[in-house]
């Protein structure tokens, strides 16, 4: 008798689940799909795809890399933000870096060492060093100072491991010259790959550089597919793009303004420049002139 009622209860539960599955799992999404076919919604429901000369080149709302096969920036295009999605802007592996605010210590590559698959050891860059390296590279590309607080001149995190008798600039692999010669009377050494510095006290050194390269340019987004950059980063890139294209920088700035989304209702979100649309507009402008 008890068993019977147990079974009856679970059969009722199963029937309920199946009925609700048909309603909520099939009919509902299909109905939303059907209504979303109406003109005006259809383009968006299909992914806001953009075509050039009849060929789809991407989605208005999904960012892309504008780099060559080696990953070097194409100078005639505005560059997107750094991306942690796969090899960069890969919608099949959307992701953020997930590195924390105090991720400042690199694992230096050991020269000659190989990993399990026989590839040379590449070590592991901390988030701080990634930021510093990006900033330096962007500075060189755009012809501005790529320095930042907590970064060394050579584009790694300026971090010391402090011991009683010495300090080590752990992210600068020997034979690099440490970014400071001494720290509170202790001599500063370069970092030896493979050496265990865990027992030292971690001291990041701020320095007194003011960053020119904007924050979004040196940090990865949450999705890894961020279609936007800030107006500040677009402005930084404008002269380089204009030069590469032989265009008037004023015209490039006009296009930036055209492709800048302002805050919705004046207060939601932040102003943003859609990189793919801007680059397409540049291509069109060139074709038109």
């Amino acid at each position: 008798m008890r068993m019977n009622s147990w079974i009856r209860q679970h059969l009722a539960a199963l029937r309920a689940l199946l009925v609700l599955t048909v309603l909520l799992g099939v009919a509902y999404p299909a109905a939303v799909w059907a209504v979303a076919r109406v003109p005006g919604l259809n383009h968006k429901a299909e992914g806001s795809l953009i075509s050039v000369d009849g060929k789809t080149v991407g989605s208005e709302i999904i960012g892309q890399s504008f780099t060559d096969a080696e990953g070097n920036p194409l100078k005639q295009y505005f560059q997107s933000r750094p991306s942690a999605a796969g090899a960069g802007y890969d919608p099949l592996s959307t992701a953020a870096s997930n590195l924390g605010p105090e991720d400042v210590l690199d694992t230096l590559p050991i020269p000659g060492a190989k990993d399990d698959e026989g590839n040379p050891d590449e070590g592991k860059q901390s988030l701080l060093t990634q930021v510093c390296a990006r900033s330096k590279a962007i500075g060189e590309l755009e012809g501005v100072d790529g320095g930042r607080p907590y970064c060394t001149q050579d584009g790694v995190g300026a971090v010391l491991k402090v011991f009683p008798d010495r300090a080590v600039s752990v992210n600068q692999a020997c034979p690099a010259t440490p970014f400071v010669a001494a720290y509170q009377g202790r001599p500063v050494e370069c970092g030896k790959p493979g050496e265990d510095y865990a027992s030292g006290r971690t001291v990041p050194i701020r320095g007194n550089i003011k960053a020119v390269v904007p924050p979004d340019a040196v940090t990865a987004s949450g999705s890894g597919l961020d279609p936007h950059i800030t107006p500040a980063y677009a402005e930084l890139q404008a002269p380089r793009v204009a030069t590469a294209r032989g265009m008037d920088v004023g015209k490039v700035r006009e296009l930036i303004a055209e492709h800048t989304v302002t805050r919705t209702l004046g207060f939601m979100g932040e102003p943003a420049v859609n990189v793919l649309e801007l680059n397409l507009a540049l291509d069109r402008a060139k074709a038109g002139s």
């Binding site: 009722a12 968006k44 429901a45 989605s59 924390g100 105090e102 607080p149 979004d216 800030t230 397409l280």
Partner: protein
Amino acid sequence: MNPTLAGILFIGSLVLALALVYRPFGGYMYRVYTGTGHLAPEKFIYRLIGVKADSEQRWGTYVRSILAFSLVSVLLLYGLQRLQDKLLFNLGFDPVVDHVAWNTAISFVTNTNWQAYSGESTMGYLVQMAGLAVQNFVSAAVGMSVAIALVRGFARSKTDLLGNFWVDLVRGTVRILLPIAFVGALVLVAGGLIQNFNGIQTVATLAGGEQSITGGPVASQEVIKELGTNGGGFYNANSAHPFENTTSWTNWFEIFLILVIPFTLTRTFGLMVKDKRQGYAILAVMATLAIASVTLVNLAEISHNGTVPQAVGAATEGKEVRFGVSNSATFGAATTLTSTGAVNSFHDSYTALGGGMLMFNMMLGEVAPGGVGAGLYGMLILAVIAVFVAGLMVGRTPEYLGKRIGAREIKFAALYFLVTPALVLIGTAAAMASPEQRASMLNTGPHGFSEVLYAFTSAANNNGSAFAGITVNTPWYDTALGLAMVFGRFLPIIFVLALAGSLAAQQPVPVSAGTLPTYRPQFVGLVVGVTVILVALTYLPALALGPLAEGIR
């Protein structure tokens, strides 16, 4: 406009919108759960299920119905994932690995939506729609049913009947969640979310490379993911993905969806106990905690302390340009104050104190305003504990809403409160004690510990967000976190319904001069204080090893 002012207006406009719908929508839900008539489609559903819609259940039967429904849900969802390669729209994906499939099944049935998998490369469309999204609806409806049953316990007297679970489940789904989801999904499509079955299209990019554009029935799933405070993303990047959250206003709308039911249920509560002031008092407790938390997370992120945020000049790592720092922080607070766990920015890269605050939000037990239903019943338990504390201070038998909080009642409330801290702290300790489990941490030092603490806090509180650097698709974490989710969901539900049963059986105590009024600001302050102090005492040592060690120099 300066970004700080814009951020304040963003929060203010959400408060205003919630205030506007509070009375009509709360009244609507009251009529849904107390009305005696059945709609034609509902009658049809009851016939298919084979339940007598007009007979009510005792608390034990109510619990058993929930457990039966959840059990078959887990089994069906597990089966769908394991047989994925034989299903339609599977995009060519393999069956989901057994431990991931079990973890995911548990996770969606418990309204957690912790994801040990990456959506775009694991789950086909049918599993997403007919498996995961269905649970988004029904796990939310289960939470609301439990809350309503508890409120009936307060509102009724000298009865052992708490309502009919199947009726509450179907009404919550058909009359509340489904209509809002349908309209909301179309609103989101208008904002740019996708709703198609196109599979993966490869396109040639401008720079001469290739990009695979994904498809899917995203809008229909996104809306219920927020409205039902579920949080499981169609894609790995969750609501940071432009296809899940396209513009700054879809972001606003998604936060609104997250908060609307949990806050508004307090109105339904007030109407059901026939004293709207009681509803306002609970709302005031929730709102006080929520506003404080949103403010603190915003402050932490905008002031961007910490080495990397200082080097960058803003806390932009893991955040999208279109949302900006402030709106991301507001979303992060909303998702952890409720049991949602959707993210539009990645919590692992938040500043130490900002991320710590998100963890603290969950540790509050997700009561401000909490998950759909779960927030209300969690908060009512805290109110019971608060009147008990007050009763101890003045030496009177505590009462709440005319019901005596005796030994039996306070035991259920105390057990309820102790479940999650036990799961969180024991789980975290077990993981940290093993070198193998420690190896799952992406970050080192206090931040790595925070990843583990966050994972167990999120699982046991049925939140589902993560400090996502941690590698959790291992058999150990899938099992341990799966258990934390099961116990963190169903033990409290059992204690709540047992409490409801014992309250419903009581004869109401008449109000006297010695009765503590539970609708005055004094009581609101008492509940806020009890909540914060209890949680702080429970978790401070663990927090000190993680976010506090990292954030305070």
